[in-house]
């Protein structure tokens, strides 16, 4: 069923009894052209673009739990394209453009809200760095405005402008950035892929890979062997332990990032704001809660929960930027697993196994990349050639000295 004003009215007038499930729950077929491992945002977006852009519909998406149970349901929903380096900025700007057309493309309300992303700065050197970043963005066709203190005051009057240690001097603003309802992205891509014939198979963990003479021939799963001409891994957070079953060792460490939401309050924050002197980023959800996060915990973990030092650090960052939130109570906090890559940038590439493709290493920035990652990964799977926007995301770049180190931290995953 196509969603429209007409379908909404018809269903409303008939007591909403005739809505159908949004995707099928098929049993796996013995063989597929492409098997995508991982039913998160990236995997489902890949399935959608494989079907829509490349006409490849004999595809299964295998998810070990329910779709969207991983990071696409655990992030802080922020989308932006404010990157600096040439290998990154065109990719993220393409993702931003895909976000802008997403709801029409998949006929699903993903609540794309271009409420702007504001990075405040606190010193002259930081102003220079942000001006440089804004210029890099504009050179790649993205939007960026360098705001002075008074312009920032108009956007967020409650910020602690005269903080003794970190006074707010201005901000870098990307008006087209904002937030997207993360679960709706999962459901919308799933529905669109399903309607084009893709089988979404939930509760079906991949337990191994069948490789014949260096070429992939299928995957072993909880529901038996499934043959596939091509297999695409899109399991960020678990990339190392899944890829290990295909004999691959990756330049990745698993880490945890925590996020937090407060009790609902009246409208306060109508943009996304980030602190420039610590790590704190915040937006207000439609239910009224402030959603925020900060640094990763910084040690290898698969536990999907973090420790208290980061909770304290995030709270301190929030209080330094906007003391107005001091009396709010936290409703929930949670953790998501990250593929922290060795240079802080992702991997979309072929692997040493013929027919096995890898989408991994998204660090803590995978959500905003969802549409472009799906777009470029589908292009790679369908054509065998990297998409120009993702050509720098090679698996072999580490040995070649072509790292994309946005933060300049070197091979220290916990510092990116």
């Amino acid at each position: 069923m196509r969603y429209s004003l007409g379908s909404l009215l018809t269903n409303a007038l008939t007591g909403n009894r005739n809505w159908k499930p949004v995707w099928r729950e098929p049993e796996p077929k013995p063989n597929y052209d492409v098997v995508i491992v991982g039913g998160g945002g990236h995997g489902l977006a890949t399935a959608h673009y494989l079907a829509k852009q490349h006409g490849i519909t004999n595809v299964a998406v295998l998810e070990k739990s329910y779709i969207g149970s991983g990071n696409v349901g655990r992030n802080t929903t922020i989308v932006r394209s404010n990157y600096l380096l040439p290998g990154n900025e065109p990719f993220y700007e393409w993702s931003m453009k895909l976000w802008e057309g997403l709801e029409q493309d998949i006929n699903y309300n993903a609540m794309v809200s271009q409420r702007g992303v504001l990075n405040v700065f606190h010193s002259d050197p930081q102003r220079d760095a942000f001006a440089r970043r804004g210029n890099a963005m504009r050179l790649h066709g993205a939007d960026a405005e360098l705001l002075d203190r008074e312009q920032v005051r108009k956007l967020v009057p409650f910020v602690d402008f005269d903080n003794a240690r970190f006074p707010v001097r201005g901000g870098l603003y990307q008006p087209r950035g904002g937030t997207v309802r993360h679960d709706a992205v999962t459901w919308g891509y799933a529905r669109s892929a399903d309607q084009r014939g893709v089988d979404i198979i939930q509760n079906c963990a991949v337990t191994g890979f069948r490789i014949d003479d260096g070429r992939i021939v299928g995957v072993e799963t909880e529901k038996g062997f499934i043959g596939a001409k091509k297999v695409a891994l899109s399991v960020a957070g678990s990339s190392s332990r899944v890829a290990e079953r295909a004999g691959l060792r990756l330049p990745i460490e698993a880490h945890v990032l925590q996020a937090f939401v407060t009790e609902g309050i009246k409208p306060l924050l109508d943009t996304v704001i980030t602190f420039g002197a610590g790590h704190f980023y915040c937006s207000q959800s439609d239910k009224g809660g402030l959603v925020f996060g900060g640094d990763i915990d910084g040690y290898n973990t698969y536990a999907q929960r973090g420790n208290l030092p980061v909770v304290e650090d995030v709270a301190e960052g929030g209080m330094a930027l906007m003391p107005i939130i001091g009396r709010l109570r936290l409703l929930r906090s949670w953790g998501g697993l990250l593929d922290m890559s060795m240079d802080g940038s992702p991997i979309i590439d072929t692997t040493p196994v013929d027919g096995l493709y890898l989408n991994a290493g998204w660090c803590y920035g995978g959500f905003k990349a969802t549409p472009a990652a799906g777009w470029c990964f589908a292009h790679l799977i369908a054509t065998g050639e990297p998409h120009p926007y993702a050509a720098a995301y090679r698996l072999d770049r580490f040995g070649l000295g072509r790292v994309i180190d946005e933060k300049g931290m070197g091979a220290q995953p916990n510092l990116h």
Binding site: Y299, N307, A411
Partner: protein, 87 residues
Amino acid sequence: MRIKCPYCGERALEEFSYRGDATVKRPESLEPSAREAWVDYVYFRDNPAGLHKEHWHHSAGCHAWLEVTRDTRTHEIIDVAFAEKGR
């Protein structure tokens, strides 16, 4: 998570800095022929879900380098020892 430093006893996580996998070995050779071994040492990790040997520095304490064995699925610390020389 608290780490039991052999010198200082059980201390809060904030006192320690993380350095990562303690099992990777720095290649002896600086010759071009050792390039692959260097790439492996600098960039590639086993990243296990389970027991992980890792280096921690007691940076806000006694400055000892520690080799901690920890379960990455539960954060349970199994063992803490001084880091060995040559690693």
